[in-house]
């Protein structure tokens, strides 16, 4: 295979995706010593490109430290990218400032893993959910209360909850509140960062169902981040797999799970403890651990753990290449 450089937007041929990341990167400087000199950088996200169509869910999966949360935060400009472009309806959000950015940003919201940490314990639910509406001067007084009530009811809560505080709710209810707040500005794009990872499975199922209903009702576009492949498989139309700051595979859900091309994706799939005692799989346990993003291995970042590595993998980083329609992988031996 020729290492022809990939189209920087490998995700779709849709002429107008809603959201597009083009060569996004983020390096966190490490400053040490008396003068806080920058002497190294953690390259948390390196040259990541994808696009998401309106109404679609792109799943983003990877293990801790792979950069998925940093990427998610960059998508809503909570973390500033150090390079690349971020397009929303074709407009580069990274070039916007001030009022123009503020107005655009309403369309992009984020839901976090831990609702206990993302809700102010001293504010009532009315205050927390209504805050974005107040800040953007979209509603006040009675109208604000009516709007918040509508949002709460939509996520499965009641009017009696308006004047309560976060600690009075269960984890699942708190996540419903966070979702209501994220929806208050009628966004079109939501980044969901491990939204059910802190919840029990019976409650997780309720929240996942709710997110699907809301997506259909409001024609929302999701970037769904999780370390849990089964949750990703359940929620996503397409899936991107990250390893140490890079996307290593990107494909429609069915293709990714039925015919994974990258050896890392395959190892991840084998590592999930399948809830079926008649299918026990120990033969494919991946050895070793993820390298530090401070000092990533040269060439392909997965090569030290890869069962298929060849000499070339030590020197050269494989580009993301389209192997089948819509199925992209960054591996010299993809599919072998």
């Amino acid at each position: 295979m020729t290492p022809a450089l990939a189209d920087p937007r490998p995700a779709t041929r849709d002429p107008r995706p809603l959201v597009e990341a083009i060569g996004l990167r983020k390096a966190f400087p490490i400053r040490e010593g008396l003068f806080r000199r920058r002497h190294a950088a953690v390259r948390a996200v390196e040259d990541v490109s994808f696009a998401i169509r309106e109404g679609e869910t792109l799943g983003l999966v990877g293990e801790s430290g792979c950069g998925k949360t940093t990427l998610g935060r960059m998508m809503v400009r909570l973390t500033e990218a150090t390079g690349g472009r971020l397009l929303f309806e074709g407009e580069d959000l990274l070039a916007l400032r001030g009022e123009a950015l503020r107005r655009r940003r309403r369309n992009l919201q984020m839901v976090f893993q831990d609702p206990a940490a993302s809700l102010n314990p001293r504010k009532t639910i009315l205050q927390s959910v209504g805050e974005p509406l107040r800040v953007h001067r979209l509603a006040a007084g009675r109208a604000l209360e009516a709007e918040v009530l509508g949002l709460l009811e939509r996520v499965g809560l009641k009017g009696e909850h308006l004047h309560r505080y976060p600690h009075e709710f269960s984890g699942g209810q708190r996540q419903r509140i966070s979702i209501a707040r994220a929806l208050s500005l009628r966004p079109r794009f939501l980044v969901l960062d491990e939204p059910t990872s802190a919840l029990d499975v019976s409650v997780q199922a309720q929240i996942l169902n709710l997110l699907r209903d809301l997506q259909a009702e409001f024609r929302l576009t999701y970037l769904f981040i999780s370390h849990n492949l089964a949750v990703i498989a359940h929620m996503s139309d397409r899936v991107a797999v990250m390893y140490l700051g890079r996307i290593v595979e990107l494909a429609p859900r069915r293709l990714l799970f039925a015919a994974p091309l990258h050896p890392y994706t395959r190892s991840l799939l084998h590592a999930i403890p399948t809830p079926d005692p008649d299918h026990r799989d120990e033969a494919h346990v991946l050895e070793g651990e993820v390298a530090s993003p401070l000092d990533p291995p040269p060439g392909c970042r997965f090569h030290p753990r890869c069962p298929l590595r060849i000499d070339r993998c030590h020197q050269e980083a494989p580009p993301l290449v389209e192997h089948a329609p819509g199925h992209w992988a960054a591996c010299f031996r993809a599919g072998e």
């Binding site: 996942l208 084998h270 005692p277």
Partner: protein, 335 residues
């Protein structure tokens, strides 16, 4: 749930089980009232068996484990009833001094967060050697050799070099291996592992689960694995006990329960897990939330969330009924 018959006896097994728990009850006294955390739990564990204790947050699985080790903080916690027969000896009747000789030496526990068990100011070698010196009276030099052996046992790369390293120098997966080495240093008969892989990435989790099975095979350990993850139970355990609100709802062989789950709670849990190759649009959620154990529901504790609840469920605590040779369920549907 009072009368689950320990499985080995029920099946006419020859050797007595390593551990038999009868009607264990643990309460916590709080300002708001008594929390009934463990409410009549019974099960048995053989040598070389891995039992999964599975359930959601607050179901009492961790308090059950702490009760077996007699590590429930008192006050506010108190074991108010039951028997824990370990090799035929009732641990709940032992004086604390005698219990100290058993804990750490014949039964050991590992936790979700390895740093909780690793004092950061000591090297891994010092930590393991201390346990060996304390319990077995071995001299320090010999203890260090044994510590290296324990690290080798758990597949630590460079076991001798690791002796001189501090816990913070190890990765999450290696810390969990160090904790296992610490737990197994005195070659206990029983290992209790409380969510040992929950904080780990899936590829590392797979390594640790394989290690636990391998240790069971090589040492003939009895293992109680506490987890909220039914996938982990399916992959690793021989038997399982599904807990809900302080009691065991269903108990038996893992294959049997996964094939024919009988308690509506177990059925609900299995239907609620997303699966990779299952393309349903909606998951079957269990409505409502886990009950408050300060004021648990009457009768069967699951009845407010149970799709099949009837009038009797409100009034009576269901007894455990054997529905197959290695399968017991506490639900009126089967009575």
């Amino acid at each position: 749930m009072t009368a689950i018959i320990p499985s080995t006896l029920a099946m006419g097994g020859l050797a007595p089980p390593l551990l038999q728990v009868h009607d264990l009850r643990t309460h916590f006294e709080t300002y708001a009232g008594t929390v009934v955390a463990v409410d009549g739990v019974s099960f048995a564990l053989d040598r070389g068996e891995i039992l999964g204790l599975v359930g959601e947050t607050g179901c009492g699985k961790s308090v059950t484990a702490l009760s077996l080790m007699r590590l429930v903080p008192d006050p506010p916690g108190r074991i108010v009833g039951g028997r824990v027969l370990f090799d035929g000896q009732d641990l709940l009747a032992l004086p604390e001094r005698a219990m100290e000789g058993i804990r750490g030496r014949r039964m050991a526990m590992v936790y979700q967060e390895p740093m909780a068990a690793l004092n950061p100011v000591f090297t891994v070698g010092d930590l393991i050697a201390e346990v060996i010196v304390h319990h077995r009276g071995v001299r320090r030099h010999g203890a260090l050799d044994e510590a290296a052996e324990a690290l080798r046992l758990v597949g630590m790369p460079d076991p001798v070099g690791t002796l001189g390293r501090y816990p913070h120098e190890l990765s999450g997966g290696m810390r969990q291996r160090a904790v296992l080495a610490l737990a197994l240093a005195c070659r206990p008969d029983l290992l209790i592992a409380d969510e040992p892989t929950t904080a780990l990435d899936v590829t590392i989790q797979a390594q640790i689960l394989r290690l636990i099975r391998d240790l069971r095979d090589r040492l003939g350990l009895g293992v109680i694995l506490i987890t909220h993850d039914l996938g982990v139970v399916a992959q690793l355990c021989d038997r399982m006990a599904v807990m809900y609100a302080g009691a065991i709802a269903e108990y038996g062989a893992v294959r049997e329960i996964f094939r024919r789950p009988q308690h509506p709670y177990t059925q609900g849990l299995l239907a609620a897990i997303p699966r990779v190759h299952d393309l349903r649009d909606r998951l079957q959620a269990i409505e409502g939330t886990v009950p408050n154990l300060l004021d648990p529901p009457s009768g069967c504790r699951f009845h407010p969330r149970c799709p099949q609840a009837r009038e009797a469920c409100r009034r009576e605590r269901p007894r455990a009924i054997a529905t197959a040779p290695d399968h017991q369920v506490a639900c009126v549907l089967y009575q």
